[in-house]
Amino acid sequence: MKRERQRGPAPARLAVADVLRVGASGLRARPTRVVLSALGIAIGIATMIAVIGISSSSREQLLRQLDRLGTNLLTVAPGQTMFGEEAKLPIGALAMVERIGPVRTAAATGGTDATVRRTRHIPEAVTGGIAVQATTTGLLATLEGAVVKGAWLNAATERRPAVVLGAESARRLGLARAGVQVWMGGRWFTVIGILGPMPLAPEIERSALVGFPAAEEFLGFDGHPTTIYERSADEAVEAVRAVLPRTVNPENPEEVTVSRPSDALAAKAAAAGAFTNLLLGLGAVALLVGGVGVANTMVISVLERRREIGLRRSLGATRGQVRVQFLSESLLLSALGGVVGSVFGALATTGYALARDWPPVVPPWAIGGAIGATLLIGTVAGIYPAMRAARLSPTVALTTT
């Protein structure tokens, strides 16, 4: 027997599992609508995950490439004289560079005026964009490149009318094997090798390479190198970079430019992340529209389910419990969209990356962000409908027909 007037019975707490079960059962009762409104969220999340995933994969690919290629390669090229003319590197420059302590390997190439053609009948003006260059035999080792067909130049062949083609030159000339003759500088040269890709020195990919002595003898090469490639120990790169101009051209160090080809790749990797703001914005808009869809679904749901709300109040649900029920429904609805969207976004990333031979990367923070965003959307979209449901008077709700 209860006599106290001040304090009434306290409502029982709903277990979290029960809250989720009630929310889920509300969704299960209207599957089509749930799928459609979760779809909006899913599209937004999938877009954002895919955009982030694909750009991360591309960045990862570039970083791995950078890792493989190393960042210890420096190139030296002539700049301009004080009078704005093209400067030249001294003939002995390579030897000077090789004398710098930390330098492990070095090589030089020098441009010639010759062109390369498959037959002598093609006019000389048609160069196919292929540069004929003299090279020292250390080039392949310095660039850590590979010969895919035939052989690299050696002490014997660098004196003979023999040429090694860069990957791109071979493609442009339509050559896939060694042993063929090409017409260069008014005579036939034998193609003795074809190189693989040179990501750090794309200019070599587009070159036809002849030994220094052969170039001087057959192509009128003046012996001045136009590019010196050099690799040193990683930790000495900056020190070497500082002394290179003075070493190469002690009289006019300002006429020498030094660059680090891997910097371009690193910049590309950095850009791969920032390139995607527009697409991200698009995904955010889709997400927003999805959130509006969820809110709409929830408002309609509350209107339709007044009798259920009245019944639950009569069964002892507090306003708070009704509110929590509709909030959990809204959260589950958008979380469903978020999970499906994340899965599709990750699949799209993986598919795209594998098709391009990139390592598929979906950063965990992106998934975490997606889940956070959907929870936020679910809450925001659910607050107003949930308040309306909770504010409904039990009698009005029950007498709705």
Binding site: M1, L315, A317
Partner: protein, 253 residues
């Protein structure tokens, strides 16, 4: 007051709806534990409003409502919810069952707000369905049940938590007479087992079937028959209503 307190105690309860609609005008009513009473009256007389007062679904405009000894005016909305969860069971004319959900789960969900664990809810739901004669229909959905069976599921949901008071608003209003009889039989059994039941109806036959009848017209109790109270309360009502009523003795019909 000594002895078990009345399950329901209305004192001068009035209810005015917006638009100056006086749905109840000074209703006094006491329901003792174990009673089975009918609240009868023509349409619009205030029966449902009275049930809302008793069921703490709404607050009176005047007077006091005590349910199981609690003065409703002194309780917050939360406390009223808890009171409904533990003390009251409702049966409505439209059964209000969740479509696509089994009878068992419909009944079990009725215990959601009583703080009962899920397993216990299902066990008690099964027992309640057994009690209303639907032990063989646990997995059926409302659409697979007849109207009478659906209303019995609703009754099972209302009594699964063993509330001291069961309120039924036109429980047979949507049913044919055979199904209606089924439902009444179930209510009769529950009453026999000790549940206090108030049935709202405008069917005089159903009213006559109840040991006690309260007649309502224009928001007032105009007649009481078969009250077993025999207390001051009953006399008051009879005097106020101005209707001669016999000795208010046994509730045996």
């Amino acid at each position: 007051m000594n002895g078990p307190c009345p399950v329901v105690e209305l004192r001068g309860v009035s209810k005015v709806y917006p638009g100056r609609v006086h749905a109840l005008r000074g209703v006094d009513l006491t329901v003792e534990p174990g009673e089975l009473l009918a609240i009868v009256g023509p349409s619009g007389s205030g029966k449902s409003t009275m049930l809302h007062m008793i069921g703490t679904l709404d607050r009176p405009s005047g007077g006091t409502v005590r349910i199981a000894g609690y003065d409703v005016a002194g309780l917050s909305d939360r406390e009223l919810s808890a009171l409904r969860a533990r003390q009251l069971g409702f049966v409505f004319q439209q059964f209000h069952l969740a479509p696509g959900v089994s009878a068992l789960d419909n009944v079990a969900d009725g215990l959601l707000y009583t703080g009962t664990g899920r397993r216990a809810r299902r066990e008690r739901a099964a027992a309640a369905l057994e009690r209303v004669g639907l032990g063989h229909r646990l997995t059926h959905r409302p659409s697979q049940l007849s109207g009478g069976e659906q209303q019995r599921v609703a009754v099972a949901r209302a009594v699964a938590g063993d509330p001291p008071l069961l309120l039924a608003d036109e429980p047979t209003g949507n049913l044919d007479s055979a199904s209606g009889t089924e439902v009444l039989a179930v209510l009769g059994e529950l009453h026999a087992a000790g549940t206090t039941i108030a049935i709202i109806t405008h069917d005089t036959e159903i009213a006559a079937w109840c040991p006690r009848q309260v007649r309502v017209r224009d928001g007032r109790i105009v007649a009481e028959m078969g009250s077993e109270m025999g207390a001051e309360m009953g006399a008051e009502v009879r005097a106020e209503a101005g209707v001669p009523i016999g000795e208010g003795g046994g509730r045996e019909a």
